[in-house]
């Protein structure tokens, strides 16, 4: 679940909310869905907040392959 992309998590979250809003699930399902929803919400939130923000540089190396390195500002 942690590795779920933001978009997928968001889409699933929307789905869960719609199903909950319809309100014809039983209690157990409702609580399960709510729990999953909160989990997804946290996952999305942390994805938004994660602040790596690195700038990498992709350069051709001597063996005519490519390599990534950190770009210093």
């Amino acid at each position: 679940m942690e590795s779920m992309s933001f978009e997928k998590a968001m889409a699933r979250l929307e789905e869960i909310v719609s199903r909950l809003e319809e309100g014809n699930l039983d209690l157990e399902e409702t609580l399960q869905m709510f729990e999953e929803g909160i989990h997804l919400f946290r996952s999305c939130e942390s994805q938004l907040k994660e602040a790596e923000g690195r700038v990498l540089k992709l350069t051709r190396n001597l063996n005519s392959g490519w390599e990534l390195s950190l770009l210093e500002d």
Binding site: M10, L20, E21, F34, C44, L48, E52, R60
Partner: protein, 409 residues
Amino acid sequence: MDRGKILSVSELTAHIRGILERDRLLAGVWVKGEISDFKHYQKSGHLYFSLKEGGAVIGCVMFRSRARELRFAPENGMKVLARGYISVFEKSGRYQLYVEELEPDGLGALFLQLCQLRDRLEREGLFAADRKRPLPSFVRKVGLVTSQDGAAFRDILRIIRQRRPGTEVVIAHSAVQGETAPAEVAGAIKALNEYTDVDVIIVGRGGGSFEDLWAFNTEEVVRAVYNSKIPVISAVGHEVDYCLCDMAADVRAATPTQAAQLAVPDMNILYRDLQVVKERLQKALERYITRKWQELDYLKGKRIWSDPGSVILDRQRHLADLRGRFVRACTAVLTAKAYRLGSAARQLDALGPVKVLRRGYALVRKLEAGKIVKNVEEVYIGETLEVILGQGLMRVTVEEKEPGEEWKV
């Protein structure tokens, strides 16, 4: 003389027109010549002129919808390249060139080459609208194909940092003008596809002359954009600069700044959306629980749940009620019986001696055993007897006796 089939003028004209319009060359042709008899009809917006060259001339019309896109003002004597199709204007019976594109011939071979390349790639489907992919809405990593030293790079970085500081950026530096630019740009796009997991690629550079932007009009770059598995945003030059790279990309941005805005969503907006979804989630659960409570309350309304004692109380009340009714019923019966007993007692009373005594009679009893004296023979002179009156009693002594018959009424 056999006249064969006789055609009307319009039938003939339509026939000629059909021949011209079916011809593949005439359906899309580039013509080089010099403008003469130029007329711009203000009302309709259409342009009418002739193209002359080497003693030949062809009438041209350029409709307003096409003329609007002109980036220069045509005038008499100007050498131009015109692209269009040949058809017949039936009212004058003249064939003419319906111009769709017009460029000054000054740029010469380069421009013609570009247009031809564009037409060829277009026919091949490289610019087809139906292969444009939507940009991912949440981008973690952005690939950049531009010059590391250019203004475009700095602009893009600045915007990305504003909108979502956490976005990772991978720059595949490449020359954006000069001999090696096309190969470097194409190679960088390919490398980003092969060696990184960026979500979107921005290919571009800042503004410059037509020649400066040339790399982005080369087949090599266009094919690299077309072949990219990662969605590509093309951002070459300014708003007015269009290039083939733009046409092959999934999205064309007017400027590098706009490309960054398109690629990276504004975190604040995403965050707001997320909060809205969360609120809906919580409300949905609250509503659900509230509703279940209501359903429960409804059942609770059947008092046994809210107040189990009440049921016992009910039973007790019922019991008390029954007992009351029982008691009342019994009392009624007993009272009736008591009444009858009372009347019997009264009858008894009336028949008994008490009433008689009250009327003044007396009852005489022997002291021993309380035997009632009915005959004078039962007593002796000097015997003490008890006399019961209507009120009270007394002891008397017999002084004298006089025997007699039983009283007869």
